[in-house]
Symmetry: D3
Subunit: 336 residues, 6 copies
């Protein structure tokens, strides 16, 4: 298995593929299966992906022994032709070989935040440092001390697609929410800022178990069957036990339940996955802030993208945004 | 018709009435009708209200001539007995007389904000002063120059009931939202702050036509049939024409439409009265902030009321909150 | 820019295009944009349309200077090949040139009513002539005197697609409803016929601002963000002011509100765009008649089309009709 | 058992009962049951009804033998006191005796149409006489020849409550719809008038089995478990067999199915009881006309009742109308 | 017309077709229509089907006279090429000829149960033999005596697709439910087993009229417009009359209504086609058992199919199952 | 504090209270609060309950010191008058005193299963003994070894109201489901019986934390905020760790996730509290069986209660059953 880096001719991205092109390069592979043609000959079916998109691929002749050298989820060098099939492009593989990738290449294969991960994490830690109640400080530290979890927290995307669907997305979304809480809480003096801040820190941590993001973005089996809501609740159960056993800290009455309630209710309504309706002021605020950040981020990304598509003389509206249930009017009428 | 002030024995409030009490005092009257008993004798039906609640009332003998001296919506001095009827209390009037009320008394009859109206209005004006675009400054000034409208804006409640249902409530809710926008907009640099701020200033102004709040809180006929959403849109149409005709200012292209869109979409979804789904980043933010302030205000008011009901050894939960679709857990577990 | 008329070899319609044909002729163009290929070469993307349908088109080499001679929405002569792409046909343009079209050609490019527009308009005017109340007569006249509006009223379609989606469709639909009211109102003597008739005349006039129909059928930006419901309400506000200012006629109390209510409630329920539920007998009748005409027209057009497709030995059912939520049984069992 | 007629002192109606009155007179009784008090003494529970409403009643001491002389559904002379209980009035019976009632009295006990039943029935027959297709004429005659069914058709209400809930209501509603079809069908020439007219004649005939209306208005057990939709379909099955067997007439292909489809789909959507969505133009028209007549009738009855309640100086709105999901604005602004 | 049997080279199944193959063989044809090309030349449009799937087909040159020799629904020998068109495969016919098929061939063209039909029918009869009440025995016998109906009962599928969509499926599903009832009823002693058992026997018999299954699987016109729910109710009406007329057996009071209620309520809720909500314990049990068998059968068929697809190294989840609203986790973790 | 037993004059049950009775006896008290009258005098508010129902109670004069001797949730001897208030009965307490109750009295105060708890528990253990896989045997034993949990499992009700709302109800419902699975699983050979059986054993165990049932039936605070679904998932997490740590048994891959999925999905749909849709055959079967047992039990309890109310000559229908969304037809037509 060879090692590949990005010091190569300019990379072709999947989003720019046209019919009948010849493609070579390193991509992420997933869902690798060995099919059988009608003549009972084995062939390879899989998905090929880079940070710009994914395509189905077929290799019509492949030796089953060789197939076993390929990763089910991992990285491959391919040579292939693009071919329209059933209304979409697919790749007909001429050659495929398992490869290792370095970090530089990985950034071509999986989308990654444009922000600095270390700086964002430091901001989260700093905001947790403003917690007033010693028990909340101690609980936050129990999470921060879990190095494995924090490594995942810094890497995980916040979603498989739609918004913050890139390496570092979970951290970026969490920090964004904690900053929001930092400016919004003072406007509602009776709102307990500690509960809101730590609630936001915890609310999506179960996504580190729900999503796979080292080789491709996908839901794990556990993510499909259990999900980050319940796993975040179980994780809190463990951390509270650790805090008591290791740190000797017993949370004030109801704190465990109220924080767990924030986690399991933060999607707002059952149809969107909440196991309970938010039923404390802080749980309600967490759910609304989560919604605010998601909608503001999605709408600005769609209506006012960074890269100006400068030759667009066409419609003033974006495509319909599935998660917003509408298409967006793009012009900022005061900016023109 | 006599004039009444509050310099009287300690006032009895409707919320504290028990069965079989004798009540005297000044109240707001509404829905005054002359009914006919089975023996074809005229009787008076009406609602009696103060700042703490309302009750149905009956006066079994009344002269139709005298009836015509009473206001359909206004103020009366009454003498009455409380009586349970069909599962609720009602008032059996022994005497009723139209009265005028001074401002001090009015505050006993209609609920009023605990904040300072002049100070809040000054804050709104100051925030409008931070608008950057000259056309937005000019448009805001056109509204501020409408003295009649501003008088109503300072007095109107934001709702007939539920949240901000008191004199000054519309102003308080609007200011609360503009302050929120002031801290939230900087976190989303591509969000056009001018559109959000002026959009929030305008979004509920139609409520000055939707609600009656000088003698009682009720929907006007126009409020029932047209509503503040469409009336706010018509009001903007007029103001933009005034701005052009009087001030000679022509809004940049699309600004009129985009602001009107914010007004008609701010309830978020059609089921809650939005004529269009919010379809610009600023319209989406206005709708979410409106929702945030409403839910934070309602949940804190229910779970952590100002007046401590100190002898409550009972449930940790409030009654079910209709607008939140749930009951709320009251304890702040870190505050105990 | 050349002028083109229809005196040419028999026209090929888009609905009859097959793969791999060579097409020449005049069509409507819309959504014209200048894209960039992966090699950064400019290319033209647009939609090509005639009265029978529309297709996406591409011209792979185009000079940006020449591109600017083309209309974003307008008319062009093209030479092109049809090509299957991603499950649909698209046009590969070999030549494209802006042209003017005469009225005869326009009728090939935009679908048009089969009825006589002048005769239909005369019928509307005649039905308005039967209004009994002088204020209603005067209000109707204020609308009829707005020549620009009446020109649009005679041309606009009633929808972008589905039913009455052709030039003259709004007029045809409006007349159809007024005739319905003319026969139905006498069966309900307490129904105020004046309010129903003028309400129907006004209910969809906002569509003249919601839809673009001079070069293609599409929603205007204002149509997307505001819609014909609110714009019809604003239009009535203006006309009532004109009537008072110019004609010196003051409407009886509540008439303005009740007519505006008919306009904003005529879609029946919020999910279909009504800003209020119909809340007067006349508003209810207008909403139900609108629904009746739409459903009767759509179902007959689908199940019993004018052009008999004579060689159909197949299913007795139409395709599923989206707006009726079902497919229709075509045979009239008494007609066979 | 005595016979009672209405030549008595002026009748007291249930709708006018006040607490603590002494009532005597003849009423309809239903739901008669023998309860047991905690001391195991038998008591009578039942409902007492006249044409204006119904009340629960109790007789605290009753001999079981005497109880058996009372009808479960029928008529009784009572002496009773009105008493508030659990938020409503109830009757405490002092005496109760089974009676027979004459037709005049029956009209005091069950609400009845204000129209002439014979004249309405003649109108229905006349409209059926305009059917063009001989098979439809023959089918209509088969129904008209069923004397028992026609007797029920002339008496049955169209509903237990809400609209046309009175003796003769089914006939009145059916005739109203057939008249509507008579004026509407000519506006849609492709609509088969025969199918619409006979479809309307048949659509609610199953209500003769669904409702009990000789002693009180109630659903029959069969009405609850099967309903008029399925029973109307079964009835058509029988009539078509009779027509073939007795009259020797075989319906054209599909006519039986298409008419049965009209019956089972006329409620429009499954949530309102339709077994299928209307899927022919005629089935769609029948469902929409049924909706039109119901809504027009209900809205006019609520907003503009016959009896002017002349002393009402109160709200311009009716109570919330359950079946219209809103309250109605009462004034006709052009009539004042 | 020639007769074809299956003693031929190994059959190619539609599910295995690839683009650009040449196909010969016998298939089921449906929806045969004669279209017209733009040059007004006739062509054949139809669907071609075998037990594994179906594809659209076109024959670009065909003599209308020859067309009339083809069945609209039936069987044909074809020679054809597979061609991708608009994102799917279609067949371009080179030759087509009507054929008769023997039973062996029929099993290649229509999917068929893997169970023994005679044995299953015997089991149904045996279970009906355990009915205790003589009237229920007599009613069951009346159905069993209807040879034509029983022939259809043994052949009909239980659905057009999804579950039990094969010859013998209705019988298999019915037997499966009766066996379930046989073990479940004893756990609820108050449940009347006779009503449940015969209710299950009857509940889907209307499907023999709803579905066409002799040449292809499709809904009949009557199935679309009336459906098996209402037709099952009408069928019971007829059988009960036969039982009384021929057998002299009068059902106990309410039995007819209660059984008919089971039939029309067995889909549970109106959205899924129930004409009434199940309102007896037995009707509720029938609806729940029907749901249990459908879901258990579908989930096992999807997650644990008979044919092991042995080279699948891919996802642990099935495709999304439309009728279960989710995708299924395939592994049985205790079986590995 | 005195101790009270049931050897007393015949007990009066709350369900039989009439207005204006004098009541003495021992009851359960809950929600005890100290209110303040308008004159600022303290009074006691609470709920009084026995196994047949509950009523609000007030004691208008009470010493705050004495109040503190009363339990918030517990048992009291009371002397009281019944009084109608706001449409319901309430109790006016004359005397109230905290008491201890023995087990015999407890059975008068809380409803209890009519089955034998020891025998039912033995049946559950026996069914768990039929598990085939050693890991499942070991896991079941880990639960059975938790004495505290098993004590709760034997006592807890399955609901606060509706079905199995009595001491022992959780055990009875669980056993009922395991017996169902025992007879149903053999009919679906591919269904893994072990997973279904142990899944049913575990599915509602979280109710031991969700419900309070030692002094009254109510949701615990944790039950309101977290619920038995998430708590059942956390409990499994703990037990699996115990099994590994103590028993050294590691579950086969995916078993933990699949069992936890059964627990969190067993309510079927999110609207009813499922955190995930059931997505394995076994999870689907568990959800359907749970539904079957609930509906069969509720419908038989309502339509065919044990105690024959023999003098009911009235309606054949029960009251509307909230959880079944309908009223039930009571007669078993074959039993009469």
């Amino acid at each position: 298995m060879s090692t590949v880096n990005a010091a190569k001719p300019p990379r072709r991205y999947i989003s720019s593929f046209q019919p009948s092109e010849y493609i070579t390069g390193v991509f992420s592979i997933s869902n690798g299966q060995l099919g059988r043609t009608k003549n009972d000959k084995p062939y390879l079916k899989c998905m090929i992906r880079d940070k710009t998109g994914e395509l189905p691929a077929r290799m019509w002749t492949i030796d089953p022994e060789y197939f076993r050298t390929l990763p089910s989820e991992g990285f491959v060098y391919i040579e292939a032709e693009t071919q329209p099939f059933q209304g979409e492009l697919q790749l007909i593989l001429k050659a495929v070989e398992a490869v290792q990738v370095d970090d530089q290449m990985l950034q071509e294969l999986l989308p990654v935040t444009t922000k600095n991960i270390d700086a964002m994490f430091a901001d989260v830690v700093a905001l947790l440092g403003t917690l007033k109640h010693p028990a909340m400080q101690a609980l936050a530290q129990t999470y921060l001390d879990d190095e494995n979890l924090m490594t995942q927290f810094r890497r995980a995307p916040a979603a498989k697609s739609i918004h913050h669907a890139y390496i570092g997305g979970l951290l970026e979304h969490t920090l964004s929410l904690m900053k929001l809480a930092d400016v919004v809480c003072p406007l509602y003096p009776k709102m307990n800022r500690d509960l809101v801040l730590i609630g936001l820190f915890l609310h999506d941590l179960g996504k580190t178990r729900e999503l796979m993001y080292d080789r491709t973005f996908a839901y794990t089996d556990r993510g499909e069957l259990i999900g980050h809501i319940v796993d975040g609740a179980v994780m809190l159960h463990d951390k509270v036990q650790t805090l008591m056993r290791v740190g000797g800290v017993r949370l004030p009455k109801n704190v465990y339940t109220v924080l767990q309630h924030i986690i399991i209710s933060h999607h707002g309504v059952p149809e969107f996955g909440a196991a309970k309706l938010p039923s404390t002021p802080e749980a309600i605020l967490v759910a609304v802030l989560d919604n605010l950040d998601a909608k503001a981020t999605m709408s600005l990304a769609a209506a006012r993208p960074d890269r100006e598509e400068s030759n667009d003389f066409g419609s003033n509206f974006t495509e319909r945004q599935f998660a917003l249930d509408t298409k967006l009017f793009k012009p900022d009428p005061l900016a023109e």
